[in-house]
Subunit: 435 residues, 2 copies
Amino acid sequence: MKPVRLAILGLGTVGGGALKLLQENAAEIARRTGRDIQITHVGTRRPRPDLNLDGIAQSDDLLSIVRQDNVDIVIEVIGGTSQAHDVVLEAIRHGKHVVTANKALLAEHGNELFREAEQHNVQIAFEAAVAGGIPIIKVMREGLAANKIEWLAGIINGTGNFILTEMRDKGRAFEDVLKEAQQLGYAEADPTFDVEGIDAAHKLTLLASIAFGIPLQFEKVYTEGISKLTAQDVNYAEELGYRIKHLGVARRLAHGIELRVHPTLIPESRLIANVNGVKNAVLVQSNAVGPTLYYGAGAGAGPTASAVVADVLDLVRFISTQNSASYVPHLAFQPDALADTPILAADQMTTAYYLRLDAEDHPGVLAEVTSILSRAGINIDAILQKPAQDQGHVPVILLTQPVLEAKMNDAIAQIEQLAAICAPVVRIRLETLDS
Amino acid sequence: MKPVRLAILGLGTVGGGALKLLQENAAEIARRTGRDIQITHVGTRRPRPDLNLDGIAQSDDLLSIVRQDNVDIVIEVIGGTSQAHDVVLEAIRHGKHVVTANKALLAEHGNELFREAEQHNVQIAFEAAVAGGIPIIKVMREGLAANKIEWLAGIINGTGNFILTEMRDKGRAFEDVLKEAQQLGYAEADPTFDVEGIDAAHKLTLLASIAFGIPLQFEKVYTEGISKLTAQDVNYAEELGYRIKHLGVARRLAHGIELRVHPTLIPESRLIANVNGVKNAVLVQSNAVGPTLYYGAGAGAGPTASAVVADVLDLVRFISTQNSASYVPHLAFQPDALADTPILAADQMTTAYYLRLDAEDHPGVLAEVTSILSRAGINIDAILQKPAQDQGHVPVILLTQPVLEAKMNDAIAQIEQLAAICAPVVRIRLETLDS
């Protein structure tokens, strides 16, 4: 059989990593596939003299590369959503399979691209788009396929997790750790995508669709970053037996689906609460297997290349069968079987809460606060009152049981009206992650 | 397309669980596959009036069932290695795909059965044979396929992990917890398979073959149980910052492969050290992605059925393509590409050690012991000497750096010759599980 031929578009960290991995592990990969894989083209503007490109055609005309006859699979790792979109579409229309690590492209344009791929009888594989080297897409689309997935919660942005880990371990401030993360190359010069949760929301969009069989709906993800988190709250959470993690959560309820990215208190005894540094982890609750967790590197040349090349190896089998019945559906469910379950608005979501009040130090404040919560039907799980601080203010921390966010909004509005409450209430969601 | 037809052989916990799962999640599964799945036969001697068997033929003649024309996939969940072997072989020879949860059967007869399956152009799928509902077989054969896997370490027997967790949390004795595990149904009346590591060795055999591409070699696994472990050693390990877990370890070295199952000290900061109760977890170290970990339920009706049915759904795609190019090789690597790398004998393996000495309480003992270790080139990482106990004996605990087991055997023999050493040296292996 003739070799399967690849074009790698983009020779940055990921593209270079994929090329090197295919070369370095060539013997091991050949033992697995039994079919030769050949890189015929690379699309790049920048020279990469550190890479071995012998016998590989180089060009910066990406649209021309994806039209070549001697290309079976296009690896799109240029990033962004503009040129990448055009190139992927052109590749599909020329009958090429696509492997991409581009979560933004798929979260925002995936419905269109997958439809196009199905019409042209090719696959878009995207293992590298979520949680880097953790094979979470394959696990959820295939490994857990017998299950009805109930919810998932993931640490799916390594930069954010690095910052939170440092804040907790060393009591450092957000801004301080962010600066270090940028120096270490974990965070971009513009860190908005990472710390404001946009990157996590892209990934959550993909995970939720393959979990529940719903179209991609990035615009409906409730997204809250970690930039306002203080070392003080990290410490209080700790005292109460919790860690704060930046989670992406997708939960299927009878009347709708919650899609949300936000800082979250998690009981410290949960395995996922102990996932530290730049690592990622995804906890999936399914109706047959119960909770399962997947942990590993969420970024970097090697881990991302591992996912990209795993996709290539799946496609090699698909190409060898020359039969689209071998494909796993893009969003895990048949395109005509996607559900139109609504995505819930933020105030229709239900979570427990950590509330921090900045109160004047006199008797009766706590009674007023708890009676507001009680009237709203909000149950309190724990109260922590700290000694008076600057200006005689007393920090009061409350943990509540799960409550509809609309109710909590009302209750907080009332609390903030109290004369003895000196500052806006700090609220952080809390998930016990019980199965 | 006509439905894919299943025969379920064995209607115990797993078989009944698989049947119920296929029925309960039928709508979700149909949304995924786009092809109907029909259970045409069950093979059982026991009536199961609690199950819905409408329209399903029942018989206790398993060999006759696997010869039926209206069977595409045979699910073997009767267990054991005798009748199961005959039935699986007969199924293969009649062109049926097989799904099995039977680790003993595959670890001991897999080389023959896989060869036979390849000759008859069918697949034997075995996700449920290792770590229950964790899709570790799929992860290693497909998700990590771009990697050269260096080593893996797994908590792959839930009963043993339950016992160790209770011993640590509650300071209980092995025998005491075992009795409770038997009452809870976690451990069999004859617990040998679980507590002596045979079950874990079966599973490790499968994991090692798909990690490294080597034939199944169950008989070469070094296997040590947990029945001799004392609460005392669990406590001392704890004091030194370690947890004791019953690990299956497979490591690829240049000159051979280590396959071993034994109690193991692990630094408590490792995620896998915090996997408790009946849960399973597998940590895999690969050259591109680095360490990844997979966690979940290793046993039980739901989790095992989740794995069995996931295999069925893979096979549905294979059957739909009618092309064996869609198959992932049984042992992850092409049958003609398996390596003959030798499995190392126990004394050729290298690990760090926890040693506990029962010494007379007089000066000079420690000097004698450390000089024996030093002459053998064994480096000491930590020493813990406890106050004198019964009969004035002093427990001395040493943690060593990694050393060839043959060297350690020599050193221990010399230490046990010392007049001041009152009992055989207790040794437990230690793995830092560094990447």
